[in-house]
Structures are given as structure tokens and as C-alpha cells.
Amino acid sequence: MYRFIQTLLMALFLIAAATPWVRAEEGLRDLVNALGEAKLSNMDEHIEALAKTGDPKVVPILEALGEGNLYARKVDGQVFLTTGSGSKLALTDPVSGESAGEAPKAGLQKVKVNNSVRRAVRTALGSLTLLSQDRNARLKAAKSVLQSPDADALDAIENALAAEKDAEVRALLEQARATTLLVSDRPVEEKKQAVQTLKEWGGGDALSVLSSALGSADEALKSDIEAALVGLEQTQALWAAGQNVWYGLSLGSVLLLAAIGLAITFGVMGIINMAHGEMVMLGAYTTFLVQEVVRNSFPGLFDWSLAIALPLAFLVTGAVGLAMERGVIRFLYGRPLETLLATWGISLILQQSVRTIFGPTNREVGNPSWMSGAFELGGLTITWNRLWIILFALAAFAALLFLLKKTPMGLQMRAVTQNRRMASSMGIRTPWVDALTFALGSGIAGMAGVALSQIDNVSPNLGQGYIIDSFMVVVFGGVGNLWGTLVGAFSLGILNKFLEPYAGAVLGKILVLVLIILFIQKRPRGLFALKGRAVEA
């Protein structure tokens, strides 16, 4: 399928030298227009033909094709590059690159693409752009040849390697060359060299390349590959354990975020707040609303939408919390089990309100660019959104700790929750402090909602999924102890992730629950229980 690359340069020369430019342009136009009539099944042949021209104009055309921006005009079958969306599209002539006006969408027929077409486009673009002027284009090209090794492309890769100056691209090309070498019919000596390169490269990808090469390798090569594999597998196992820890931390940070507000309302104030999950949900919906406004009015600010949503979510859910405390909960102090009933009722009301206002379906909350994608750290794959969520959870925790331990406000809160009467007789306005503490807990839950909107559904049911886990974390860590919540969240997260590969996701979760139950038998007041003379009489 990729045999054309071998003849690519030759064809380029021949066409460029032997035919007048006009004919080349007309030929290109025909090829492009042919795309409009092509079927999905024979599309790759057309792409191949286009790539064979070697014409740099082909690059934007193929890119547009891959992105689904290529349309054929229904009246004359002319194919155009398009931009924009909605009922009218702006057309660009593929050959001249000039604007060709606008056309209603109804008069255009999209050139259909599917995965195999996109793959063909990617490969074609890869070879076409290996020698591009643009460093990023070369980088992308190197990645794509690495992903689809083809013996025929080996020469092109070596040519590109010879000309390449950029270290990063070079490294990729080296790997691509080694990977491709293994599937080529080059001599064993060169292949041994390639195995070495791959071994030094390391990581899961090298492992998979080598293990798939093992099956078809010569006897002479086999021992080399096997040796390389042993080393790679060992390091890979270590990295896998590290990766698991990372997943555990990441899950733990989600648990921490979900539970941290509850550590205030439940842990510190003793309110069994079943509406806690709904506070998280309201925070997520605030993010949705902020993004709606940003999308419609200030598209440039999209990357900032989360930063805008954070304080707003805090205010919104804080206000809801304040209203809840003033309206209901303040009548129930000292009757913790009854707060459970009332807040359960409130959670039903909040859920149904959101369902009525925003509809029952999921709402779209986008990831800003700095929260999308992943990067490699040694053998670890770290996704940006998880990293930010861990950082955010820790920051929220630190801020809360600071607020409670180092500020007058925090002192008052602790005073009131420890001894209401005493605090009140010392001039602290206890009702006010109660209300603010509850609002604080709710507000933090709202901020957690902003973060969770990045990884989970934004639907009226969002909160329900977290409420039980949150209670488990707070109880496991020890009610009334923020550090307990922190340690509890991360240890449950990591435990869960280490059980998951052996027991599966479902059984793993059951095991964690059983372990919590057993743990509470051992330490009936949680991990970080306050020891001391029981005040109970």
C-alpha cells in the first residue's frame, strides 16, 4: 500500500520536469475532484494518487480531508476546502488556494471520511511532510511514520534523518527507523543495531514493537530481542507499579475533593449532610453556565473559564449552603441523625430543581487546552487534567487547613464547634459562625464540582455518585480531623487501584468497602481518632 513512497521522489521529478505547470495543476484538480466521487472503500487509492504528485498543495487538501472540511459542490462536482460552520460555508479553491466565495451547505456534499481514510491521510501526510520546513510538521510526520512502520518508507526516513537537525525530531526519526528496520529485509547486523536502539529507547512502545518482531525474527536475531525484552519488561513492571500509584493518587484526589467539604459540614459540625453531593453538582453546573456564557460571548476566554467558574461556584454553592443552614439546619443542631433526614429531603429537591431547569441530560463542560492531553514522564503517562486535579485538591486542602488553623475566623469556627455555650458567652456570634462554617463547607464542595466537571458527567445525578464515597473517606479518616480526610482519601484511592488489576473494578470496590468495615471494627473512630479521656459520662 505504501509502495508509492519509494517512487515518490522519482515521480515528483518526472512530473515536475516533463509536464508544464498548467497540466500539473489541471491534473491536481482532477485528482481532487475525483475525491468527491470516490467511495469510502477506494478512497485510499485516490489519496495515494494525490500524495504521489508530491505537490505541496496536496498537504492542506489532505489535512482538510482528514478533518472533514472537504466538500463537493452538488451542481458541478467541484471540490473545495471549506471553513466555518452553520448553514453557509466559506469555500477555498484547493488548487489556487484562493477564496471561492460562500455556498449554502445544502448545495454541498461532504467528502466522506472514516477511520481508514484518516489513517491513509495521516500516513500520506507523514511521508509528505518529513522534509517540511516547519519543525512541528516534521515532528508530526515523524510521529506518524513511527506509528505505522512500513518497510518501503525506510529510505525516506533515512533521507529525512540525514537532513534533520532538530534533536527531538531526530530522536523520533531514529526510533522510527529502528522500528521500520525490524520489519524490513535489511541484514541482521543492522537489525541488531535497531534492537539496541529500541532497548535504549525503552518504554511500553518499544516493548510492544520488540515482542511483535520476535515472532517473525531470524534465529540470529531472536536471542538479541529476547535479551532486550527481559530488561525492558523489568523496568516496565516497575513503571507499571509507579503508574498504579499515580492512578491511585489521582483517584484519591478525586475522593479528597469530594470529601473535603463534607469534612467540614459533617466532620467539624456534625451534620450528616446528605445534600453534600448536590453541592458538588451545583458547582459543576455553575461551570457549565460559565462556559456557556464564555462560549457565546467571549470565546477567547475559554481557557480561563475554569478560573472564572471557581470563585463563582464557591459563591453559588456557599449561598445555597447559607440558605440551607439558616432555613433548616440551624433548628437541628444536636440532633445529627435528623439532619440526615432533612438534608436528604433537600437533596431530592435540589436534584429535581436542576433537572427541571437544565433538563435531565448531561451537559457539556469542555476541557480547556491546558487540561487536555497527556505527557510522558519516564515510563509514566500523566494526563494533564488529572495532574491539575491533584494539585487543585492539595491546594484546596492547604487553604482550608490554613483558614481553620491560622485565621481568627477559623479559631471562632473551632471554638463554636467544640463548645457552643462557652464560645457564645465569650462574645462569638455563634449562629453567624455556624452559618458561615456551613457555607464554607458547601462552597468548597462547589469548587470540587468545578474540578469534577472535567472528568465526570455533568448531570443531576452527579452528586449521588460521590456521596457514599465521601462519607466513607471522612469516617475512615476520622471524623473531625482534616488530616484524616487527606490520608483517608489517598490511601483508599491507592488501595482501590492496587486491587483493581487483580480483582477487577467491581470486586475491588467491594473489597475496599469490606476493608473499611473491618477497619472501623479495629478503630471505631477512624484512622486519626482523637484519643483521650472520653467526655461522655
Binding site: 481508514s116 506509528q147 511500553g204 451537559r363 497527556a374 458527567n457 483493581e500 488489576p501 477487577g504 467491581v506
Partner: protein, 430 residues
């Protein structure tokens, strides 16, 4: 403003249904249609839309003069995603409200819960959702897809088009994924796929931490053979799953994911940019280009007063089921259950994907199967279509105990589980 409109709309709907409930003073010359979809609880996310779709279909039909000269009247109840409550509400609809037919249920368990009620009280249920098959009941019409109308064509497509050799069957741990995966596993092995090239994974409902599983999929897919994921992951868990796929950089060109429970509604909650090219197999997509569908979408948007509302496959199933029921009632001249049950078989109505769907003797319908790729705008683009219509196969040919069973509700057989090997009705027959 749209919010206010929706609140008033919902309020009006509530008032309407209140009057509907107080059936005592409702006019006698209406035909009542029961709508049994969860409006609260976990399934409200999917089912509320179907309730709205039914209200729209009934309103449209009334504009065209109703049925048998009478107006249709919708009776809406909320079974609240609580399965035993489904049974209670079904009983209430049939014996208190005396509805002529019920359109409802989403999950298999809700259908299982109401089955005995429909059987006992002899009424009709239209069930609009793709399901695991292995059932054919006299009082139920299955307008959603059976596994052979969704799962098997999707796998065929991937095998032919993308030359997939390694398969990940990922599902939520409940009956539909379990059965579908059993069928697919048997099917794949019959196609020469080696057992070690099939990875099966189950997760709990509402699973939200997909890091480990997605990285396992990546690892499974990097063994040098073309790999695809067949996802029977249920509603709620899909958004975090796709978000994790996007973030870990699993591209459709490398490891395509084909899903059977992800439709336009589910995509509405996602940024589909990074997901372009992942697949879904359905019998209908909103993007299908034909006049009937265009009109349907237009009516829907007008009815919901929201031009961002999307349509999806189960809505189309209700559309087909409702029209079939209308036609059957007209043919029978009465809403009497037995007469309608007889009249239903063989009824053929236009579907929204540009053809006709027919009610087969096994109470399943014929449908085209479409494979669509996710687009950046949250729609699907059809990339493949079965050449003709596929008949829903209630008893799968790929499960050892069900391959001998057939269903035919026409007299004289009138049997939901006729065993062709023993020639007796009632499974193996003993």
C-alpha cells in the same frame, strides 16, 4: 428565557397529567396511551426524552384527527427508576387508567419487572430500546434493536473495513453487555479470532475512574495487531470513559471504539473534538438525510422549543412503534388488545432512516443497521449501512441453548419459544 419557558412548559405538563390522572371527569371519547418512563432517578437522564417524544407524537396525531375518530390522551406517570415501581405503575396505567397501550421502559430490568403485569392484565407494551434479546413475549413489541441488528453488523464492519484482529469487549456489568458479549465472543471465535485476542472487561454502573482500564486497553492494543473496542458501557459511565480516552490520546485511527449505548443525547454532554472517528452502531442517526427525518427533527425542535435538542435511536423506535400501533388499531377498528395483537404482525410503516420497518411474527421489527462515526459537532456520520433490512433475531444463533428456538405469535403456533429441534413450544420441551 428558555429556562422560564421550560419551567412553565413542565408545569403545564404536570397540570395536564394531573387532569389525566383524575380520569373520572375525563371525556369518554378519548383513547388513552400510557407513558411509562422514569422522570427522576438514575434513568431520567435517558428516559425523559422519550416521554417528551411520545407527548409530541400524540400531539401531532391529534392534530391530524386522532385515532378512530377519537382524540388520543397521554397518561404520564413517573416510575422513578425504581424497578418494582415500574410494575406498580404499569398495573395502575392498565387497570386504573385503562390505557389502550403503553409505551415505555428503558432498562431490561424495568421491562422484566412489568412483563408479568402486561401478561396478566393482557395489555400492550412497546419497548423502544436496544436490548440483549432472548425474549419474545405475546404482549410486548420490541422496536429497539436485537443484538443481530446492532452488535454483529458493527463487528463485521470493523473486521472488513479496519481489518481488526484483536478485540476488547468492555461493558457495564449487567445483563445486556453480558449477553451481547457472550454472543460476540461466540461470533468472533466462529470467525477465526483467537481467544487470547479477546479481552473482556466489566465495570460497575456509573464507573467514573477509567484510568486503569483505558491504559490496559492501550497496552492490549499495542501488540502489533489492529485492535478495536466494542463498548457496551452504559449511559452514565460513558462520559468519563470518553474523556479518559481523549486525554490518554487513544485515537480512533489507532484503536476505534464502537459503542451500542452512545447516541446523540449522550454526546451532547461531551466535547466530541478529540473523539472524532469513534463509532456507534444504531438503526437511526439524527444526521440521516431524508425528508421524513428532516420533518421529524423540525417538529421535535419546535415541540421542545429548543433547537439544540437532538433526536436519537430510541426516539425513532417510539416513532415506528407508535405509527405501527396507530395502523394496527385502524386495521382492527378497535383498541381491544387481542385484536390489535393480531393486526400488528405484518404492519409496515416508514422509519426515519429512509425505508420501511415491518413488524415480524416474533414481535421484533426489521431495521437497517447504520454505523456512524462521531463528528466534531456531536453528530454521527453514517459510514456504512447494511444493504437491506435486518430482521430482529430474538433468540440468538450464537448461544448454544437459544439457537434452536424461534418465536412466532401468529396462529396456530402462537409461541414465543418454539423449539425447532423438538418441535414443541416451551424451550427444550420436556
Amino acid at each position: 428565557m428558555t429556562i422560564r419557558a421550560r419551567v412553565t412548559g413542565a408545569f403545564l405538563a404536570a397540570v395536564l397529567s394531573t387532569t389525566a390522572f383524575n380520569g373520572a371527569f375525563a371525556a369518554e371519547d378519548t383513547i388513552k396511551v400510557g407513558i411509562l418512563h422514569s422522570l427522576s432517578g438514575t434513568m431520567a437522564i435517558s428516559e425523559t426524552t422519550l416521554k417528551d417524544a411520545m407527548l409530541m407524537l400524540i400531539e401531532e396525531q391529534n392534530k391530524m384527527g386522532g385515532l378512530l375518530g377519537k382524540k388520543l390522551e397521554a397518561v404520564v406517570v413517573d416510575p422513578a427508576s425504581d424497578w418494582p415501581l415500574f410494575a406498580e405503575k404499569a398495573r395502575e396505567l392498565i387497570s386504573v387508567d385503562k390505557v389502550a397501550a403503553v409505551f415505555g421502559c428503558w432498562t431490561s430490568v424495568s421491562r422484566k419487572s412489568v412483563l408479568p403485569v402486561f401478561e396478566e392484565l393482557n395489555s400492550i407494551l412497546f419497548y423502544p430500546v436496544q436490548y440483549e434479546g432472548e425474549e419474545s413475549q405475546r404482549n410486548v413489541f420490541y422496536t429497539g434493536a436485537a443484538p443481530n441488528q446492532q452488535a454483529i453488523p458493527a463487528v463485521d464492519y470493523l473486521m472488513e473495513n479496519d481489518e481488526v484482529e484483536r478485540w476488547v469487549l468492555a461493558g457495564t456489568d449487567y445483563v445486556y453487555p453480558r449477553t451481547t458479549n457472550k454472543i460476540l465472543e461466540a461470533y468472533l471465535i466462529s470467525k477465526g479470532v483467537k481467544p487470547e485476542d479477546i479481552m473482556i472487561n466489566y465495570t460497575p454502573f456509573g464507573h467514573s475512574d477509567w484510568q486503569t482500564i483505558v491504559s490496559d486497553i492501550k497496552k492490549f492494543g499495542s501488540a502489533g495487531k489492529k485492535t478495536a473496542v466494542v463498548s457496551t458501557i452504559n449511559g452514565d459511565a460513558n462520559v468519563p470513559f470518553y474523556k479518559e480516552l481523549a486525554n490518554q490520546g487513544v485515537k480512533a485511527e489507532d484503536i476505534p471504539v464502537v459503542a451500542f449505548s452512545v447516541g446523540e443525547e449522550e454526546l451532547a454532554g461531551l466535547d466530541t473534538g478529540p473523539l472524532v472517528g469513534h463509532l456507534a452502531a444504531w438503526n437511526y442517526f439524527q444526521s440521516v438525510d431524508n425528508p421524513a427525518n428532516a420533518k421529524f427533527i423540525e417538529t421535535w425542535k419546535a415541540f421542545t422549543k429548543n433547537d439544540k435538542r437532538v433526536t436519537n435511536d430510541p426516539m425513532e423506535a417510539h416513532y415506528i412503534g407508535f405509527n405501527m400501533w396507530l395502523k394496527a388499531v385502524e386495521k382492527a377498528g378497535t383498541t381491544d388488545t387481542d385484536a390489535v395483537l393480531d393486526a400488528m404482525i405484518g404492519i409496515s410503516v416508514p422509519n426515519l432512516s429512509g425505508g420501511y420497518s415491518t413488524m415480524m411474527p416474533n414481535h421484533h421489527i426489521t431495521k437497517p443497521v447504520l454505523i456512524g462515526e462521531i463528528q466534531a459537532d456531536g453528530q454521527f456520520e453514517t459510514v456504512w449501512e447494511t444493504p437491506g433490512l435486518v430482521v430482529g433475531d430474538e433468540w440468538s444463533d450464537y448461544l448454544p441453548d437459544s439457537k434452536d428456538l424461534i418465536s412466532d405469535w401468529r396462529a396456530p403456533m402462537s409461541c414465543g419459544n418454539f423449539n425447532v429441534a423438538t418441535g414443541k413450544c416451551g424451550g427444550k420441551g420436556s
